[in-house]
Symmetry: C3
C-alpha cells in the first residue's frame, strides 16, 4: 500500500482524520477476516492501559489484537488506580512504552491520551478520555452506518441523551462532520446539550443541525437514532430525572407508531433501560451488530497502525 | 472423526452427555500432548466470564485454551461485579459472543449457563453455576478415577462433605450415574444431604447408593473417597460445626487404621483442613494428579467443541 | 550450548549465581532480538503469581514471556489475596505447577520463593520476596551498568535510600559482590542502613564499602548512583522524614554542582519525588533505559531457564 495514513500514527481525536482516511480504514475493516488469517501482528505487544473501567472497549481491543496474533499486557482495575495514585502518569506511560509496540489508553481526564502520545514513542490510541474524545467508538459507529445503509452521507441522524458528558455521543457528532449527512438532530434536555467545543466545530463547518428536546417530534424523520444513557447523577432533581428518562425511553410501541420503517438504532452499550428489551428482536435494533463490527474496525486500525 | 458429539455444543450439565460421549472425551484427554502439538485453536478466542471468583477453574481453562494456541479474554473479578450490577447478563453475553469463539461462564445463579447458551451463538461451557452443575469438574473427576483404576465401573465410592450446596459433589454424583459403580455412599451430616433433584436422578436410574452420616463406618469399603469442604456458614451452631468438621477430617492415622490399601482420595480443591497435610505425601493422595488431569480434560473438551 | 547454567533452574537469590553465569545471561540479553525472532517459548506457559502488587515487574516478565511466544496465566491482585487467605501457599503452588512450565512469584514474606521452589517441579523465579531478594532486578541493574560503561568492575557506586527494607537496593548490593567495583558507598539514614545479613556478605567477601549518611559528600566520586525510595512509614517522626527526604532528593542543580560528568543514575521505579523531574531530560538519567533493558534481561533469563 503506497500511502497508509495510519502507520505509526497516534489516534487521539476523530477530527485528526479525513474522510479519505476513514474510508481507507473501513475498506480494511471489510477485509478483517483476511487480516486475521495473515496474523500480521504475531510477536507484537499491545498495552491496554485502562485507568477508567471499561469492559467493552477493553475486550474489543483485546480481541482485535489477539485475532491479529498480537499479545496484550494490561494494567487492570485496581493496579490502574494504585498506579494512578503512587506514580505520575508520565513514568507509567514511559514504562508501557518500554514494553509494548502500541498503547491503548482510557482515562477520565481530558487530554490524557494526547499527553501520553507526547511521552511515548509507540503509537498511542485513545480508548476514551475526558468528555469528548473516543475516536475508535466514532469509527465503529460510522462504519456500522455504512454497513447498514451503504453510505454515511445523505441520511438524517438523531443523537439522543447525554450530549454534554457522554464522550461516545460527542465523538459520533464530530465524526459526522467529516461526512455529508442530510441533517443531524441533537436531542437532549437543556442541561445536557452538546458542549460549546463541539458546537463550535459544527458551526465552523457550516453543518446542518438542530438542537431539540423532543424525541417524538423528530423521530419520524430519522434514518439513524444514536441512543446514549443519561446518568442519574447529572440531573440533581430526582423527579425531573424520572420525567426525562421516561420521555427518552425507546420502546417498540414508540417506534412502531412514529419511526420510519428503515430506522436503525445504535447504542455504544452498556445500556440501562433507555432502550426497552422489546426493541432487541425488532429490525430497528442494530446495536449488537455495532458491537460486533467494533472488533472488525479495531482489527483494521491496529493492523494499519502497526503493520500496514 | 466421523461423529464428534461435542462439536459446537454447549456444555451445561454432566447429564447432557452419555457414557460414550465421555469415553470419547477421555480418549482425547489421553492424547492431550498430541492435541497441544497441533495447536488446533490457533487464532481462536475463548472468553472467560467468571462472575463468581474461581482461581483454579479459570486458570485450568485458561491454561488449556493457551496450550492449544487459543487466546483468552477475561472479565475479571471487579469488572465482573460491576458488569453484573450495571448491565443485564443478556447484553454482556451478547458482547462476549461478538468477541469470542466460545464462552466459559461461572455464575452463582442456577441456570445462568443455560440462559447464556440461549443467547450466544458461540458454544457456552458451564464453569460452575448454582449449587448443582459443574460439568467439567465431573468430567475431570471421572477421568482421574479412570486413570487411577483403569475403569470407573465396579468401584465403591464415598462422596463426603457438603452434598447440598457443593456443586462439585453434586456433579460428581450425577456423573457416576452414567457409569456402573458397585456402590456409592453419600456421607454427610443430615443438614447437608444431597438435594432432592439429585436424589430423584439416582432413584429414577435405579442407582445403588446409601446416605450415611459416619465416615469411619464405610471407609473400609471404599475404593474412592471424594472429599469436599463444609463451609462454616452452613452450620449455624458453632459447636456443632466444630464437631462435624472433626468427624469428617481425613488424617493419615484414620486412613492407616481404616482404609483399604488401594483407596484413592480426590478433592476438587481448594481445601481448608478437611484433609490433613499428613495425607499429602501418602499413596492415598490423588488430588494433585486430579488438578493436573483437569487441564488435559479441558484441552480435550475445548478441542472437541471448537476444532474436533 | 554445551553448558547453560540456567536450564531448569530456580532463580531465588542473586547470590545463587556466579559472575560467569551472569555474563552468560548478559550475552543472551544482548541478543534478545534474535531470541524473539526464534519464539523459543511458543506453546509454553509462564505463571505469574504476584501475591504482592507489582505493576512493573509483572508487566516486564509478561512482556518478556510473550515476546518469546509463551502464554502467561496470572493470579491477579484480588484473587491473590483471597487465595492467600483461603488456601495454603503450598496447594496454590502445586496448582500452578500443574498448569505452567515456570512460575514467577512475588510475595511479601522472606523465603516464599524458596519455599515455592521446594514444592514445584517447574522452575520458580523470584520476582521479589521479603526485604532482601529480587534477583532479576539485580540482574537488570547490573546489565544496565554494563551497557552504559562497558563494564561493571572498577567503578564507584553509591546506593541511596532505604537499604534496610528495600529489596531492590539489597539485591543490587549483593549482586555487586560478584564483581569488582572500585568502591561502594551505602548512603542512608542510620535507621535505614543495610541489614546485617547483607553486611555479613560484604564483610565475608572482603568487599570495599562505606556506610555514609551524606549524599553530597560522596556524590563527586560516583560513577553510578542507584536511588531508591524512602517510604514515609519507615520514619515515625514526620519532621525527620521531611528533612531526610529533602537531603536525599536528587535534582539537576545538585548534579550540576557536585556530580562527575559521566555519572549515571539508576532507579528501580516507580519513584515518588526522590528524583526531581528536572533530571529526566539530562544525560545523568538512565532509569528509562534500565526499565527497557529489564525486558531484554528477562527475555534472556526465561529463554535460558526454559529453552536454552
Amino acid at each position: 500500500m503506497p500511502d497508509n495514513p495510519f502507520r505509526g500514527r497516534d489516534v487521539i481525536s476523530i477530527l485528526d482524520f479525513t474522510r479519505e482516511d476513514l474510508e481507507e480504514l473501513f475498506s480494511h475493516a471489510d477485509r478483517s477476516k483476511e487480516l486475521i488469517r495473515r496474523r500480521s501482528l504475531e510477536g507484537r505487544i499491545v498495552a491496554l492501559a485502562f485507568f477508567e473501567p471499561s469492559t467493552r472497549t477493553r475486550m474489543s481491543f483485546e480481541a482485535a489484537a489477539k485475532r491479529l496474533g498480537a499479545a496484550t499486557i494490561s494494567i487492570s482495575g485496581e493496579e490502574a488506580i494504585s498506579v494512578a495514585k503512587g506514580e505520575n502518569l508520565a513514568d507509567t506511560i514511559a514504562m508501557l512504552d518500554s514494553y509494548a509496540d502500541a498503547i491503548v489508553i482510557r482515562h477520565k481526564y481530558e487530554g490524557a491520551a494526547l499527553y501520553a502520545s507526547e511521552i511515548a514513542e509507540a503509537p498511542v490510541i485513545n480508548g476514551g478520555d475526558g468528555r469528548q474524545h473516543h475516536p475508535t467508538q466514532a469509527m465503529l459507529d460510522l462504519y456500522t452506518v455504512r454497513k447498514l445503509f451503504g453510505r454515511i452521507d445523505g441520511l438524517v441522524y438523531g443523537v439522543l441523551g447525554d450530549l454534554r458528558y457522554g464522550r461516545a455521543a460527542s465523538s459520533f457528532i464530530l465524526g459526522l462532520t467529516l461526512f455529508k449527512p442530510r441533517h443531524v438532530y441533537l436531542i437532549s434536555p437543556p442541561q445536557l446539550r452538546a458542549r460549546s467545543e463541539v458546537i463550535e466545530v459544527l458551526e465552523s463547518r457550516g453543518f446542518e443541525y438542530n438542537e431539540v428536546e423532543s424525541l417524538t417530534e423528530v423521530l419520524p424523520e430519522l434514518d439513524v437514532l444514536y441512543v446514549t444513557r443519561i446518568q442519574k447523577e447529572r440531573i440533581p432533581d430526582p423527579r425531573e430525572y424520572e420525567a426525562l428518562k421516561g420521555s427518552y425511553r425507546v420502546t417498540i410501541d414508540l417506534l412502531k407508531s412514529k419511526a420510519r420503517e428503515g430506522l436503525k438504532i445504535l447504542h455504544p452499550l452498556p445500556r440501562v433501560d433507555e432502550i426497552d428489551f422489546s426493541v432487541d428482536a425488532s429490525p430497528y435494533q442494530a446495536y449488537y451488530l455495532q458491537a460486533r463490527l467494533g472488533v472488525d474496525v479495531r482489527i483494521a486500525l491496529l493492523h494499519l497502525v502497526l503493520a500496514g
